[in-house]
Amino acid sequence: MRNVLSIFKRDFNAYFQSPIAYVVIALFLLISGVFFYLLLSSFMQYSYAAMMQQQGIPVNVNLMLIRPFFLNLSIIILFMIPIITMRAFSEDKKNGTFELLLTAPLSNWQIVLGKFLATYLFYLIMTGLTFLYMIFLFLWGNPEILPVLIAYLGVWLLGAALIAAGNFISSLTENQIVAAVGTFTLTMVLWIVGFSADFAGKVLGNLLQYFSIIDHFDDFSKGVFDSSHCVFYLSLMILMLFLTHQSVESSKWRA
């Protein structure tokens, strides 16, 4: 456990030793902030119009603002993941420090978990900062808190699966650009695979739909907790961590 923590601490601190962390977080907050602002503006227009028309149905901030915001957020995340995970293993492989890790008395699982936790904590912090936007809604509006928390749970489960996938791709190459492009391709495929579901046959279509990573997020964004989606994300995470472990193990053989 101490070994996992040592690797985790080193990798996590390394983010903040370079400008990467600040640039990534700033970019993410900027893009998600713009979306939030646009959604908020249109929501305000709509609710103003609704008020003028004296309709009896109150506009629902959870459904009309928070849900589309989280759907947008999930797509932005797909684009940010590769930047977060690209250096995880690639940098060590390039630097020669991979040799240090593999010849130290560490098990491969300790290396994989340490690196995963470092990238994942960074992700948690980055996405957690968007809670600032929610605070404004709670200060000047009255959204329900539970659906918001469930949406965050969805963001973090989605992230766990994707971050693990990014770690896996990064463990395959010593080139950070290749790692980023590879991870980006993977996240895009996992997203787009659902689009083609309608054109495939029934069985294949259902299968493709099942693997569409954003489809599983839909319920979370509505504030609906469905354990089958949790199972999907967690199994994807475990699969990816396992593949990362195999990749680290076999990199010895390939080297």
Binding site: R2, R10, E99, T103, P105, S107, K252, A255
Partner: protein, 315 residues
């Protein structure tokens, strides 16, 4: 302490190591020699558990690297060919990280870092970022890293690369000093380094073991023939003919022809047969000018070259 037997390694179809076997006893410094690409780094990487072998076994302190790699890794301090440093860390934090993953207890971290920093005189740079220190310091930080947690076995892949002459001497002294209670394998290109620091030498070429012995024994062994260097002013073909008539002579070769009639020759003779008197007499007899005549002693360089280039000569 270290036992390597029948080590074979394939990279695809390329045989990088072929049945390499040797032993290193406790407290010994073993020098690892060979031209670039001979398989030195590969052998070291197999011993440290970074790369698995395709065949053969390695055991360190009785533990097999394949079955019990964690036990082996605990006992080895490894300085790889490329210093495994994180440029974005301060020297002290880097050493702290490596000490932690090597299992140094939390309470003794500071003392342990102090100990290795002292050994490699790293005190002035402890708080500097690794990216900003000189190559010599980087090499020494990498060396310090290998000493953390005081492993009984040290594997050093070219430990003096990038150091200035004064630092090289310091590091050699350090290696000798460490050898009292450590077992050391070190690879190098610098041959005098081997004769200066090592008790025994392993020479490998094209993945094959060519020799394992003490530097002195190698010297004696390899003198399968004595060599005489000679410079003579006289017709080359008749000089060769005359020299060949001496019974102890095995071969004569022209090393360089300075101008017509003046050339230097290398003469191989049976061991212990000093034929310089005969040679001189024969040359004077023929009325040629004897400009130089001396016996040649094999240095480690010659042994190295002899052992590693003989195959090419055959083809």
């Amino acid at each position: 302490m270290i036992e390597v037997s029948g080590l074979t390694k394939f990279f695809g179809d390329v045989r990088a190591l072929d049945e390499v076997s040797f032993r290193v006893e406790k407290g010994e410094i073993l020098g690892f020699l060979g031209p670039n690409g001979a398989g030195k780094t590969t052998t070291m990487r197999i011993i440290t558990g970074f790369t698995p072998a395709s065949g053969g076994t390695v055991s360190v302190a009785g533990f097999d690297i394949f079955r019990n790699d964690l036990e082996v890794k605990k006992r080895i301090g490894y300085l790889p060919e490329n210093p495994p440093l994180y440029n974005d860390m301060q020297v002290k934090k880097y050493l702290r990280f490596v000490a932690a993953i090597k299992g140094v207890e939390r309470e003794s971290l500071a003392a342990e870092i102090d100990r290795v920093a002292d050994k490699l005189s790293l005190k002035p740079v402890l708080n500097r970022y690794i990216a900003g220190i000189s190559k010599g310091y980087k090499q020494r930080v990498a060396f310090a890293q290998a000493l953390l947690n005081d492993p009984p076995v040290l594997i050093l892949d070219e430990p003096t690369v990038g150091l200035d002459p004064k630092q090289i001497i310091e590091v050699r002294e350090l290696i000798k000093d460490l050898a009292h209670d450590h077992t050391v394998i070190l690879s190098t290109h610098i041959l005098p380094e081997v004769s200066m620091t090592c008790n025994r030498v392993v020479i490998i070429n094209n993945g094959q073991l060519v020799a394992v012995d003490t530097p002195e024994n190698l010297n004696a062994h390899l003198k399968g023939s004595d060599t005489i260097l000679m410079e003579v002013d006289g017709r080359v073909d008749s000089v060769i003919e005359t020299v060949k008539k001496i019974p102890e002579v095995r071969s004569v070769a022209v090393t360089s022809s300075i101008r017509t009639g003046l050339a230097s020759y290398t003469i191989e003779t049976a061991v212990g047969a000093d034929i310089r008197r005969d040679l001189a007499a024969k040359i004077i007899e023929n009325g040629w000018g004897l400009l130089e005549l001396k016996t040649e002693h094999l240095s480690l360089e010659d042994i190295f070259l002899k052992l590693t280039t003989s195959e090419e000569e055959l083809t």
